[in-house]
Symmetry: C2
Subunit: 342 residues, 2 copies
């Protein structure tokens, strides 16, 4: 910057004002400065600027698993929205570990990010978030809290209910659910949606039909818990995979192992469909989560929070997309059931 000021024969102050357009500068001087900027290949130093402005134009992005397709989509949405506003995301992956979440957040605070986009690790104590909010604006993604704060996620309860009701309409009376780790809010919501659907249909909620109150995070674990349920004589006629894609894989493993075919022997619907699920035989029926839009909206929420620190906190719920395959038992090309228009 000093170089620029020397070449242009002005003070650094003028250079600053020209570059940022922050006060009127005579046309002649401005031109001289701009030429000098070009000549010297000058580029603002974001560090010095951040220091002086006490605003870094960075945000912390804390997710639990950058490998999961939903999170990957979220990251894309966030990055896009951030870049349009000159904001750079600093990335931290917790791998679902509390300790890594702790150290990552600490590191990000130390780097003075302007805000935090966070997907909490299951089992995070409430105080963690409370303390955090005192220091810095936070927007929760995917896994939502019951506290009043900015957050955006999938409308899981209703979506799951509609999905199960589709099975009910097809005549199923004994429907199992793989829900996974219910410490994760999203998964708890899905379990609730499942239960609501049964209740509305006047069907009994049998505890042995709900799989995975324990941690089920791997494909093998899902398989080992689904197998026994379907090997008995009185087996469910349908199942909803309400955890994550690994869970779905485990279900398919278990059914294949037992020689049960989908949908003839067991109907299957899936909350978290993965890519190319229409290439399966049979095509899978289920929901695609709005990962990209979750990321986008979360970033927007954070930006407006930065501008209006005292605005009312918002919770945004996004609807997933229904993909009608054949694993539910419907013939190919059947349109989406009612309730999925919006």
């Amino acid at each position: 910057m000093r170089d620029v000021s020397r070449v242009a024969g002005v003070s650094t102050s003028t250079v600053s004002h020209v570059v940022n357009g922050t006060r009127r500068v005579s046309d002649e001087l401005r031109q001289r400065v701009l030429n000098a900027v070009d000549a010297v290949q000058y580029r603002q130093d974001a560090l010095a600027r951040a220091m002086r402005m006490s605003r870094t134009n960075t945000i912390g992005l804390v997710i639990s698993d950058a490998g999961d397709h939903v999170f990957a989509d979220m990251v894309r949405g966030i990055e896009h929205e951030a870049r349009e506003h000159g904001i750079t995301p600093l990335l931290a992956n917790t791998g679902e570990e509390l300790e890594r979440q702790q150290t990552s957040v600490r590191a990000l605070l130390s780097r003075r990010v302007d805000g935090l986009l966070l997907t909490e690790v299951p089992g995070t104590p409430d105080e963690f978030l409370d303390e955090l909010l005192k220091e810095i604006p936070v927007v929760l993604m995917d896994r939502l809290s019951t506290h009043g704060l900015d957050q955006v996620g999938t409308d899981s309860t209703v979506a799951t209910r509609l999905l199960v009701e589709h099975l009910v309409e097809l005549g199923h009376r004994d429907i199992a659910a793989l829900v996974g780790d219910t410490r994760v809010p999203t998964l708890r919501e899905r379990e609730q949606g499942y239960l609501e659907a049964l209740e509305r249909a006047g069907l009994p909620a049998r505890g042995d039909r709900v799989l995975g109150v324990d941690k089920i995070t791997t494909r093998a674990a899902a398989r080992s818990v689904v197998g026994p349920l379907f090997s008995g004589s009185e087996r469910p006629t349908a199942i909803i995979s309400a955890s994550h894609s690994a869970g779905t894989a485990g279900i398919l493993d278990a059914l294949r192992e037992l020689g049960l075919t989908v949908p003839e022997d067991v109907a299957l619907v899936i909350f978290d469909l993965f890519q190319y699920s229409d290439l399966f035989t049979p095509k899978l029926t289920g929901l695609v989560q709005p990962g990209y839009r979750i990321g986008q909206e979360a970033m927007r929420l954070l930006l407006s929070r930065l501008e209006h620190p005292d605005a009312e906190p918002q919770t945004i719920r996004l609807r997933p997309t229904f993909i009608h395959g054949e694993s539910c038992g419907c013939p190919p090309g059947t349109p989406a059931p009612s309730g999925w228009q919006a």
Copy 2:
């Protein structure tokens, strides 16, 4: 920091030295300082530190599509390795657009990242990288250059050759290849591997068997180019999907549409297998790319480059993993062919 020094009754210099362990401090003073740090909830300011040290402990991570599963894995590997060294990645997604690459890199330089991990957008002019290297250490990932610089990617040529040779061993004489956008170095290498395999087998290399010298980046595009090739009377008996997962999906679409079954009518092997490809019917045969390790090694390379700026540039080639399904025509459970031991 001044607060700490006042509470502890020492100079800021001493505080600094205690916190960083950068020179001997008497036990008593150290204790006083540490207590004060706790009392004041002091946390180092990474910005001021970076300014003074002219080292930010951040790196720029520039990838083309955070949604692709290989890149997502790479990001995981990078983040893990970075965090272990107290380094935070700043994320930029180019979406395969030259302009976004340009502005993203500029922004990262402005933030004074210590180094850059880069996957170049197809069609990037050579000078871009040349200019960049003058300013900052760069490690290329996945898409490698022929210039001598630090880079890590998949050993595509050999891997593709072995894959095609597997088809040859199974008796195929007319093998097609979907290669996609050959401006991408990786894809050009795969094409080369395909051609080498044909040559070694003494088979003719027919131009009409190589699909996608033009840009083929979508599922629909792949399908529309594969269809015609297999609808003629003299159709290939096998095909290798050598572009990306969308290409594979397009191939499957096209074959399905024509009523051709895999592997009876057409054998299929895939360079870039996606998740759960063993749940397909038939199970898909092909390679899983070492995304996580690519990221990890790239980060390591960058770190050692930062320590030894004048060391010899390294190129690291990682072997993909062979997954033996049934889409190649082999019966279930056939072990990997020779050449895949390492």
